[in-house]
């Protein structure tokens, strides 16, 4: 890895890590997924034109990487049901820490809603950039955000979180 990739990693690795986590990459996959993001970034660096900030550029890569990891997870679930352990603990979920609570609720909403919500609400990317990154209109992005909030509140209400 060259110095540019190293600087990219130093400046944004924590954000990429958090972003992947709330996009639904499981805790034990985060290191591998994070590594994958920066490998792709390293490869694509020559294409980076600077029309987005390095951070949102990395988020774009992370969106694709996270999607692939989620797919992999779904395949595993169809097979050996990786989450059967989690499911058995699910009734105790309200006693788990709040980060997991939010991740659990995010699992309950659609992928496109989740992406808008995590980009805008957690990573605080402006909506215009969110829309550009997700290749949808700003109006659509806002609509997804509204639906995401509604879905999350509904899911959290199930867990006794006030709405």
């Amino acid at each position: 890895m060259g110095p540019a990739t190293a600087r990219l990693f130093q400046a944004h690795a924590e954000e990429v890590w958090r972003f992947l986590k709330y996009l639904g990459v499981r805790e034990h996959d985060l290191a591998d997924a994070c590594q994958e993001v920066f490998l792709v970034a390293h490869r694509k660096l020559p294409e980076f034109r600077g029309d987005a900030s390095p951070r949102t550029w990395l988020y774009g890569i992370s969106l694709r990487v996270a999607k692939a990891w989620r797919r992999r997870r779904q395949l595993v679930q169809l097979g050996e049901d990786e989450r059967s352990v989690d499911a058995s603990q699910e009734r105790d979920r309200e006693r788990r820490d709040t980060h997991e609570l939010l991740c659990w609720a995010l699992d309950k909403i659609s992928e496109v809603q989740r992406e808008v919500f995590v980009l805008h609400e957690i990573e605080e990317v402006p909506m215009v950039e969110v829309a550009a990154r997700l290749e949808c209109g700003v109006f659509t992005a806002y609509s997804r955000l509204r639906l995401a909030r509604r879905g999350l509140k509904r899911a959290l209400a199930e867990k006794g979180v006030k709405r």
Partner: protein, 226 residues
């Protein structure tokens, strides 16, 4: 037991950071140097808070960044460097052989360690726009903000008093922005419109990217900008 509501969960998620050492392992896999960012001042929970945390099952104490503090002690050289927070931190190069179980034992083949020509050297050196907020946070903080928020509808003066209490007790708290929004809404609702407007404008200037900005602007519009 009660949980923080969605907005509070989001505010806490924004402060979520990987456990110390996790990124160092990724850095080793990528063969890049990495210095963990300095950990914000951590207030270790009081016995009462620790008891509360245990009661609500915060097994990893990850809620308010305590997790980061708790792992500092075991994180070894990388964080030891980070904690000293030098003006120009010397990169800690970890030998690639020291890979831990966190990253695949057989990572994907690494691309050649040659920087492509025309790489945007300067584009990636800027400081992260999302530096973690500093300051001690405790389990009491979201509770206090929640009480203030609840009071807003019926008892704006009480909401204001609670916001002031938050300011006093948690001056650099994780929910300071939320507190400011509650305070200026409380001012508006209790008839102190001039002060509410002044604070709303100050908020606009201070937090130009805040997700609360639409709410603050709506308030300004309601009060009449003049």
């Amino acid at each position: 037991m009660t949980h923080p509501d969605l907005d509070q969960l989001v505010a806490l998620a924004r402060r979520d950071r990987p456990a110390a050492g996790s990124l160092a392992a990724v850095a080793r896999g990528l063969r890049v140097p990495f210095v963990a960012a300095p950990v914000a001042a951590i207030v270790m929970p009081s016995p009462a808070l620790a008891a509360l945390a245990a009661k609500v099952g915060m097994s990893r104490l990850a809620l308010f960044g305590w997790g980061a503090g708790a792992t500092v002690a075991v994180s070894g050289a990388v964080l030891a460097v980070a904690l000293s927070e030098p003006a120009a931190p010397a990169p800690v190069v970890v030998p690639p052989a020291a890979t831990t179980g966190l990253v695949s034992a057989n990572p994907a083949p690494l691309p050649p360690a040659v920087e492509p020509p025309g790489a945007p050297e300067t584009a990636v050196v800027g400081p992260s726009p999302r530096a973690p907020k500093e300051g001690p946070v405790t389990w009491d903080e979201p509770k206090l903000i929640e009480r203030a928020r609840k009071a807003l509808g019926s008892e704006p003066r009480r909401a204001l008093a609670l916001a002031q209490e938050h300011q006093r007790r948690f001056p650099g708290g994780a929910l300071s922005v939320e507190r400011d929004v509650i305070a200026l809404e409380a001012l508006a609702r209790s008839g102190q419109t001039a002060e509410a407007k002044r604070r709303a404008r100050a908020f606009e200037a201070k937090y130009p990217k805040s997700i609360h900005l639409p709410r603050v602007r709506a308030l300004l519009a309601r009060l009449g900008e003049g």
